[in-house]
C-alpha cells in the first residue's frame, strides 16, 4: 500500500499533504467557510449533518489535490471511514425534535443523518465511486483496526485505491479528522499503514 495524499484537520489546524492551510472562524462555521472558499458547487452540503459536512469538506480538499480527473464513474475506489461517536451530533439534534410530547415534530431531514455511513454514501455519490463504502464505529482511535479494514477492502481485486478516514466529531465544536488516499501498490504493509496512522493521529 502507499499513501498518495493525506489531510489532517482539527478545529485548530488544517494540513493538506504536509502543508498548513488557513482556516477562518470556528465550529461548523469553519466548515461552511471552507466549503464556500474551496468547493461552492454542491448546495446539498448545507443539508448535511456535522459528520457529513466534515467528511465532505475534508474529502473535497483531499481529492482536489489529487492529480486525476474528478467525477468520472469508477468502481476501483472504495471509501472506508471510522470514528468513535458514530452519528451522535445528528442523533442529539433529532432527539430534540421528539423529546417534547407537546411539540413532537420528528424531522425527516435530521432523521436521515442518524446513521454514520450516510457520509460515505454522500462522498461516493458526489464522486461517482461505485466501489465498497463502509463506516466502522470503534471504541477509540485504533490504527491497527483501521489498517485491518483497509487491508480487507483491498481483498477485492477490483479495488485499487481507497479514501480512508477517521472522522470523529462529538459536537459542533470538536472534531478530529484524518483522511488519506491509499493506493494498493506500495511499500507499506498493514502494520506500516497502522504506524503511519498512529503518527498522524498523535500530531492532530
Amino acid at each position: 500500500m502507499r499513501i498518495k495524499k493525506w489531510l489532517s484537520f482539527s478545529p485548530d489546524s488544517l494540513s493538506l499533504n504536509g502543508e498548513t492551510l488557513g482556516v477562518v472562524g470556528g465550529g461548523v462555521e469553519m466548515l461552511h467557510e471552507l466549503y464556500r472558499r474551496k468547493v461552492g458547487d454542491y448546495p446539498k452540503f448545507f443539508k448535511m449533518d456535522m459528520l457529513g459536512k466534515l467528511g465532505f469538506v475534508a474529502s473535497e480538499l483531499l481529492l482536489q489535490s489529487e492529480d486525476a480527473p474528478r467525477f468520472v464513474p469508477r468502481e476501483d475506489r472504495s471509501v472506508v471511514f471510522c470514528n468513535r461517536s458514530a452519528s451522535l451530533v445528528a442523533d442529539r439534534r433529532y432527539q430534540e425534535t421528539i423529546s417534547d410530547a407537546d411539540n413532537y415534530y420528528p424531522s425527516p431531514a435530521l432523521f436521515v443523518y442518524t446513521l454514520p455511513n450516510i457520509v460515505t454514501g454522500e462522498i461516493a455519490i458526489r464522486n461517482k465511486y461505485y466501489g465498497e463504502t463502509s463506516f466502522v464505529v470503534l471504541e477509540k482511535f485504533d490504527p491497527e483496526q483501521i489498517a485491518m479494514h483497509v487491508a480487507a477492502a483491498f481483498q477485492d481485486p477490483v479495488c485499487q485505491s481507497q479514501l480512508v478516514g477517521w472522522t470523529e466529531c462529538s459536537d459542533e465544536s470538536h472534531w478530529q479528522c484524518l483522511m488519506l488516499l491509499v493506493e494498493r501498490e506500495g511499500e507499506l504493509d498493514r502494520h506500516g499503514l497502522a504506524a503511519t496512522l498512529e503518527r498522524m493521529f498523535t500530531s492532530l
Binding site: 448546495p43 415534530y105 424531522s107 425527516p108 431531514a109
Partner: protein, 85 residues
C-alpha cells in the same frame, strides 16, 4: 395572500437549510421540485412537517403533497383554505 407567500419563502428556506437562497430568489410560481428549487423527497417530508407545525395542517395522504407542493402559490392557496392555526 401576498404576505403568506413571503412568509412561506422564509419558512421554506429555514426548514430546508437552503443556505444560499434568498426569499427574493424564489419564483412563487416556479416548480418547487425538479428544475425549480431542486428539492427532493426528504424535503417533501420536511414540508409536510412544516405545514403541520406552523399551520396545523395534517396531510392524511402524503401523496397529496405532489399537488400541494407544485409551487409556493399553490401551497399558499392550500394553506389559506385549510389552516387551523
Amino acid at each position: 395572500m401576498k404576505e403568506l407567500i413571503e412568509e412561506l419563502k422564509v419558512k421554506i428556506i429555514e426548514a430546508l437549510n437552503l443556505e444560499e437562497v434568498r426569499p427574493e430568489d424564489i419564483d412563487e410560481n416556479a416548480s418547487l421540485f425538479g428544475d425549480g428549487l431542486g428539492l427532493d423527497s426528504i424535503d417533501a417530508l420536511e414540508l409536510i412537517v412544516m405545514m403541520e407545525r406552523n399551520y396545523g395542517i395534517k396531510l392524511k395522504d402524503p401523496a397529496q403533497g405532489k399537488e400541494i407542493f407544485k409551487s409556493i402559490t399553490v401551497m399558499a392557496d392550500y394553506i389559506q383554505k385549510n389552516r387551523t392555526k
